[in-house]
């Protein structure tokens, strides 16, 4: 094998992590669509966040300028990714951190489990992190007898409820307060039935439940929102203080970061720290943001490990059009405005990355063939593109990936035939006249065969007109 061959971009390996769903989107979506409680929970939550976000975005007069800057910074990052990562590595190392490189999920899981085992600990506390969900780190830790404790409230709800996350920012968005109360009552020792479903009461229960764990666990695992190449600074944006606990109290901190999270300069944070909270939770600023550079003697963890994760990202980078999916800052704005996500919920997407960004990111990380239904899980309405704080043109990406997706043979034949016909006006006119024969399919199209009967299950087809426009034009 040559070096060049080994160095070719590779998609994320199957059999580990959570990037591939068990079934295609249309069938997985049916469960969410058929669950009126889920639809209500999602409808309520996304409506709330859309209004909040619109309010705080309306307060800043330079939102479009911030978006333009954010988009350009990310374009720059992708163009210079190798050198920025090398710079980040040098800065983190100089500040007392240890940098590890992981080509895929298996390698990252092995690095982290080895690091945890070396500390002698059997439990880790975790800050919500998409990267560690993506690689299935919790399962890998459990397999070697290490207990991962999710400390983000929504992650905790998902973990205690033996559930799957359904949203990037709020993994338990599919649960309402009554369901959350029920999960806490069932799984938390010492919680009694006087617990109300007031969100403040539920949050207080989580505070009590986790406090001792925070104080007695020696290792924490986090993700990173941003890593600054020119200073070696890592940043984690959060709300509850669980992040501060994990980043401050343990002796050892292990941060697992997708390689696309690097930003070139300290100054670049001024753009993203304005874009992210307003687009994400609809706040002017999230309650807590922690930034650290390596190890600070006498303050916080005295051992810091940074794991740089590829797991298919190099393959995304290799696609000139597709690579803009790597610009994502995981704000979830595209989920919150997506009419498809709002109705199907996040589980339908199979991957840990749901919604519009998931529909363009997951298939690229795994290779389109492994997630071939996702690029079609959109009506191309464009709301995601407008909402994206870094201007990822998701509709363009969806169309781009559809072109790479494996096509059903019957459909491909029909499409080729349609194109052939439409490129020959005489044939085209003959076909138009044949449309009138569709009346044979029965009134309002209610006798047509699959897959077109998907239309007539709930919609009538219009009766074809007696005369096409061009026939009418010819007779004028």
């Amino acid at each position: 094998m040559t070096r060049t061959f080994l160095g070719m971009p590779v998609t994320a390996p199957p059999g580990v992590g959570h990037l591939r769903g068990a079934e295609p989107f249309p069938s997985a979506a049916r469960r969410g669509l058929a669950d009126p409680q889920l639809r209500r929970n999602l409808g309520h939550a996304t409506k709330t966040i859309r209004a909040k976000s619109a309010g705080v975005i309306g307060e800043v007069p330079d939102w479009q300028e911030l978006r333009a800057a954010g988009s350009a910074i990310k374009t720059d990052v992708m163009a210079r990714l190798p050198e920025l990562l090398e710079q980040l590595e040098a800065k983190v190392t100089a500040a007392g951190g240890v940098v590890h490189w992981a080509a895929d999920a298996n390698e990252a899981n092995r690095i982290v489990t080895d690091l945890v085992r070396a500390t002698g600990g059997s439990r880790v506390i975790k800050v919500k992190s998409m990267a560690t969900q993506e690689i299935g780190l919790n399962e890998a830790l459990e397999a070697v007898g290490i207990e991962p404790v999710e400390t983000d409230l929504a992650e905790l709800i998902v973990q205690l409820g033996d559930d799957r996350p359904s949203h990037i920012l709020v993994p338990a968005i599919h649960r309402n307060r009554a369901e959350i109360r029920e999960i806490f009552l069932r799984t938390m020792p010492g919680v009694d039935s006087t617990l109300t479903d007031e969100p403040a009461a539920l949050a207080a229960v989580a505070r009590r439940y986790l406090r001792q764990t925070f104080l007695t666990t020696k290792v924490a695992i986090s993700g990173a929102n941003f890593a600054v190449a020119d200073t070696g600074t890592l940043a984690v944006v959060e709300s509850e203080g669980n992040g501060r606990m994990c980043l401050t109290l343990p002796e050892t901190l292990i941060t697992v970061m997708g390689i696309e999270k690097v930003v070139p300069t300290w100054r670049d944070l001024e753009v993203f720290l304005q874009l992210l909270p307003r687009a994400s939770t609809g706040e002017r600023m999230n309650p807590y943001t922690s930034m650290w550079t390596g190890v600070t003697p006498g303050d916080g963890p005295q051992a810091f490990h940074l794991v740089l994760l590829d797991n298919g990202r190099s393959a995304v980078l290799a696609d000139e059009v597709g690579r803009q999916a790597l610009h994502c800052i995981r704000c979830s704005a595209c989920l919150n405005v997506c009419p498809v996500y709002e109705r199907t919920g996040g589980h339908a997407y199979g991957s840990v990355y749901p919604g519009p960004i998931g529909a363009v990111l997951s298939p690229q990380l795994t290779g389109v063939a492994d997630n071939s239904s996702l690029p079609y899980a959109s009506s191309l309405c464009g709301a995601c593109y407008d909402a994206c704080p870094v201007k990822i043109n998701i509709p363009e990406l969806l169309v781009h990936l559809r072109d790479q997706a494996p096509h059903p043979r019957g459909e491909a034949t029909a499409m080729a035939a349609a194109a052939y016909t439409m490129n020959r006006p005489r044939l085209y006119q003959a076909a138009q006249r044949a449309v009138r024969l569709s009346r044979l399919a029965g009134r309002r199209g209610r006798g047509i065969p699959p897959p077109l009967d998907g239309w007539t299950a709930s919609r009538d087809l219009p009766d074809p007109p007696a005369q096409t426009f061009r026939d009418w034009w010819a007779t004028r």
Binding site: G7, E65, L66, S239, T281, R284, M291
Partner: protein
């Protein structure tokens, strides 16, 4: 081949010949603005922080009004002793155990910077702000902000801060949006945030 070489090799192969020099970033957004103390107060209150505006000489009196008599207060080593009232028990951090910090009723610190537009205070671990854990475990955090530490927006704040210090950006008390995407205050961090704003 190490994983490092493998990943970097893949990335270089992915970029191929269209690896470009750096892209020009348009920075037409606001990078400086007028300091607006009223805006800071408005934004702090909006996120459920309690704001007290007074002169430096009145800090101790104000804190004695916030904290019950006999309350235990942890403070960083560089905090001006004159800020603390005689009604509380003061414990100065000189390497306190986490349990001792967690058992305190409150913490009092200074700040490095405050951002008016977002209602944010930033702590950078200076002697009057202390270790990160100090302002994390007690349920009530009083921080003292001087007017000249207030900046208009995020860009000015970052320009004043050093990336080589551990930074904690705080915007209101601990909160979560995890239940039905509604913000509720009070999870793991301090559930009460008092900001004393000096002229």
């Amino acid at each position: 081949m190490t994983a490092r070489e493998l990943v970097l090799g893949r990335l270089r192969a992915a970029l191929g010949t269209d690896a470009r020099a750096s892209v020009e970033v348009p920075r037409a957004y606001r990078r400086a603005g007028m300091r607006d103390l009223e805006q800071l107060v408005d934004r702090l209150v909006d996120y459920r922080a309690e704001v007290h505006r007074l002169a430096e000489a009145d800090i101790a009196d104000t804190i004695s009004g916030i904290l019950p008599s006999g309350a235990t207060v942890v403070v960083p080593p560089g905090l001006p002793p004159a800020w603390l009232p005689s009604t509380v028990t003061v414990v100065v951090d000189g390497g306190l155990a986490n349990e001792q910090i967690g058992a305190a009723d409150a913490v009092v610190t200074a700040v490095a910077v405050a951002v008016a537009e977002t209602g944010t205070v930033v702590l950078d671990g200076s002697p009057d702000q202390g270790r990160r854990v100090l302002s994390l475990l007690p349920d009530l955090h009083v921080c003292v902000v001087r007017a000249d530490q207030v900046v208009a927006g995020v860009p000015e704040a970052l320009a004043r801060l050093s990336p080589h210090r551990p930074l904690t950006w705080i915007s209101g008390p601990s909160a979560t949006s995890d239940i039905e995407l509604n913000r509720v205050e009070g999870v793991h961090g301090p559930r009460n945030l008092h900001v004393i704003l000096l002229p």
